[in-house]
């Protein structure tokens, strides 16, 4: 017994180590790391060299649920409310109606190819209906890509919010299959939907509010704040699920509130959650890889291929184009969002539901779903980054905020002290302090030079290796990064090639610009400024990276804040 425990610990830790080592490989191959974790699990399993027999569906389900809850909490914290401006409505449309359409079409195809009753087919459709954000963004960041905000925000919010919908559809369809009553299915589903989302929504918002108050009121040892956040989130998750609401929606909302409100030790909480989310991904995929019997997948290969093809080539595109109809997204972005219906862990976890409720064909649900997820990770996962480049949906990544040291001032949740080292060759190098282009809300506290503390006088000239201490509002540090990074960074060079060498004011008249470069202006754009021209020709809500070609010059939206264009890049073609 004692030996068995140590063996288990050794085994888990070893598989974890292999998975961590393999993430480096994932970036080099451009393959989704999730795919590699799954493969490690499969290799360790009964058909691979590992030979481990694992078929404990209950444990896999438990681990999967905890992992999903953590991943959603982390996902909520990463979602910036500012991205709601362009992404919220299309994302919610995709997350509700979109999931229903996708599941419906896949369900029809599944019922036909497997020769099942319609309801069973629809259940399979619901199981594979949701997309996985972590997979998408992991891949894009791994390839050094930053998506334009409109597509990025839409995908991010969609994948955060569509899991509750898929889970709801699955659980409801299971209930219908189990019950014998022949009442009105539509009404029953709608009521169930309202209950799940209503409870989930209320619990999430109330829980998030309460957690924020707790974090700011309580005096605890510093290490306990992140743990408080995680345990509180899981508490609400469990409670909501028990009460018949969607715990997944609740915990996502808690994360969302936490990440976008002033909270003590937010940075610490982010760090812990970041780590836990990785652990959850690794653990969950390893376990699911172990759970499956790869050789049994061959039995369902043909129907699974058909279902996967229907999902990727028909169902998802139809759902995306239908749901995005009112939002007039550029065609390229709709194509991209259609292709990026990447499947992750959620479908595999949902495929365990039929097992747990002891349905017939329960093995087939699991095998088909597993196969579809594998195919999706391979085909879609591998092609996302090249496709984003091809469709010109990438923008230069923001300058990485490295080497700043943040100190939270207890009791002052919306301000923090940041210390930046001045690097030789960075824009901040060789400025006199008074001319340093800092936002008004940022105050200079002092300059540390070797072992002296210098008063922040306006005529003090910064030198390399100085450390500049600033008092900033908590959200301002992103904008400061560019000032202190060493130039020219790769991203700076990319950005000059991307936005063009020159920068224009958005309130400049389009006619004046055309006159300056000898371009014939369109008559219907006469008298408009660049902001209005971009909004009319590209999208009513522009995002950074939107571009408009006029004759042989090109306008590129370069900087935005609060929905307004601040700078327009001018590119010469």
């Amino acid at each position: 017994m004692i030996d068995a425990s140590y063996q288990l610990i050794l085994l888990c830790a070893f598989l974890g180590l292999v998975s961590i080592a393999i993430t480096g490989l994932s970036q080099r191959l451009g393959a989704p790391s999730l795919l590699l974790f799954l493969l490690v699990g499969m290799l360790a399993g009964e058909d691979g060299p590992g030979g481990i027999h694992f078929d404990d569906v209950g444990t896999a389900f438990l681990v999967g649920n905890i992992a999903l809850a953590i991943i959603l909490l982390d996902g909520g914290m990463r979602t910036h409310v500012s991205s709601f401006r362009v992404g919220l409505k299309p994302a919610l449309s995709l997350a509700t109606l979109g999931v229903a359409i996708t599941s419906g079409i896949v369900g029809l195809v599944a019922a036909w190819i497997l020769d099942w009753p319609l309801l069973n087919g629809l259940l399979l459709g619901a199981i594979v209906g949701s997309t996985d954000a972590a997979a998408v963004f992991g891949l894009l960041h791994g390839a050094g890509l930053e998506l334009k905000q409109r597509s990025g925000a839409t995908l991010e919010i969609e994948s955060g919010t569509n899991d509750p919908m898929a889970i709801f559809l699955t659980v409801s369809l299971l209930g219908l299959l189990g019950s014998t009553s022949s009442g009105n299915i539509g009404v029953a589903l709608l009521l169930e939907f309202l209950q799940q989302m209503g409870f989930g929504g209320i619990a999430g918002l109330a829980g998030g509010w309460l957690l924020q108050k707790l974090l700011n009121w309580l005096h605890l040892p510093r290490v306990l704040y992140p743990l408080l956040a995680v345990s509180f989130g899981l508490c609400v998750f469990g409670l909501t699920n028990l009460a018949g609401g969607s715990g997944f929606l609740a915990i996502y909302l808690i994360g969302l509130l936490l990440g976008n409100r002033p909270v003590n030790y937010l940075r610490d909480i982010r760090w812990l959650l970041d780590g836990l989310a990785w652990l959850s991904q690794i653990g969950m995929f390893l376990l699911l890889g172990l759970l499956v019997t790869p050789s049994s997948l061959l039995d369902v290969a043909l129907p699974a291929l058909v279902i996967a093809a229907a999902l990727m080539l028909v169902a998802r595109p139809v759902a995306v184009f239908t749901c995005l109809l009112p939002f007039r997204l550029p065609l390229k972005e709709q194509v991209f969002i259609s292709w990026v219906g990447l499947k992750g862990a959620v479908p595999i976890i949902l495929a365990l539901f039929p097992y747990l409720s002891g349905m017939e064909h329960s093995a087939t649900y699991f095998q088909v779903t597993f196969f579809v997820v594998l195919l999706s990770l391979c085909f879609q996962g591998w092609t996302i980054a090249p496709l984003a480049r091809r469709l010109q949906l990438d923008v230069p990544p923001l300058v990485e905020d490295r080497e700043h040291l943040g100190v939270v001032i207890p009791g002052q949740v919306d301000r923090e002290l940041l210390a930046y080292r001045i690097h030789a060759g960075s824009p901040a190098d060789a400025y006199v302090l008074g001319r340093l282009p800092l936002p008004d809300s940022v105050k200079t506290v002092g300059v540390l030079r070797t072992d002296q503390v210098l008063q922040p006088r306006d005529d003090l000239r910064l030198a390399p290796e100085d450390i500049l201490v600033l008092l900033t509002p908590s959200h301002e540090s992103d904008q400061l990064a560019g000032l202190f990074a060493t130039l020219p960074t790769r991203s700076h060079l990319v950005s000059s090639a991307f936005f063009g060498p020159f920068t224009l004011q958005p309130d400049v008249l389009f006619d004046d610009l055309c006159a300056a470069y000898g371009v014939a202006p369109d008559p219907d754009l006469e008298g408009l400024d660049l902001d209005a021209v971009l909004r009319r020709r590209v999208h009513a809500q522009p995002v950074v990276g939107d571009r408009l070609r006029v004759g042989n010059i090109e306008l590129v939206v370069k900087q935005m804040a609060q929905g307004r264009i601040l700078q327009v890049g001018l590119k010469l073609c």
């Binding site: 824009p427 001319r435 282009p437 130039l487 020219p488 060079l493 000059s496 060498p501 020159f502 920068t503 224009l504 004011q505 400049v508 004046d512 610009l513 300056a516 470069y517 000898g518 371009v519 042989n552 010059i553 700078q567 327009v568 001018l570 010469l572 073609c573």
Partner: protein, 152 residues
């Protein structure tokens, strides 16, 4: 592609010109060009360059600016190169003061060729090594030699 040799002349290459303000700098530029090219009056050059500047600063960032405009009575693209003794506030996108300028005047008639030259010059001046070399030049002739002899 024309190189700097074809659009620059030693008479329009000034090392360590007096800075002062952005307006003073454009006055200096207009004077240099109008004295070098008799067909281009001082007022015309000054007005056209300032008019382009109103659309947005021609500063590229990192102390570099490339003021440019189309101009009547100009038969071929004209370059003017200046380094400035004391960096001048130029409303550049990165807020850094400017100490190295390449002014490009092109004929009124629009040509793809002119945009290509502008693009080429912008690319050249985004190379840190090139700009460092120009900043290190001690007199007009050295500045001209470095600019025209540069192999990128």
């Amino acid at each position: 592609m024309q190189t700097l040799t074809q659009i620059l002349s030693p008479g329009r290459t000034i090392c360590r010109a007096p800075g002062g303000s952005k307006k003073r700098l454009f006055e200096t530029i207009a004077r240099i060009i109008s004295e070098d090219q008799l067909s281009l009056p001082y007022a015309e050059v000054f007005t056209q360059l300032i008019a382009r500047e109103k659309l947005g600063s021609t500063g590229l960032g990192q102390g570099i600016a490339i003021p440019h405009c189309r101009i009547p009575n100009c038969s071929q693209p004209l370059g003017t190169l200046l380094s400035v003794d004391e960096p001048v506030d130029f409303d550049a996108p990165d807020n850094q003061p400017v100490d190295l300028l390449f002014v490009l005047l092109v004929p009124q008639e629009a040509h793809q060729e002119h945009l290509d030259i502008l693009s080429h010059v912008a690319g050249l001046f985004s190379q840190t090594e090139f700009c460092q070399a120009l900043r290190a030049a001690g007199d007009n002739q050295a500045l001209y030699d470095i600019a025209t002899g540069w192999k990128s």
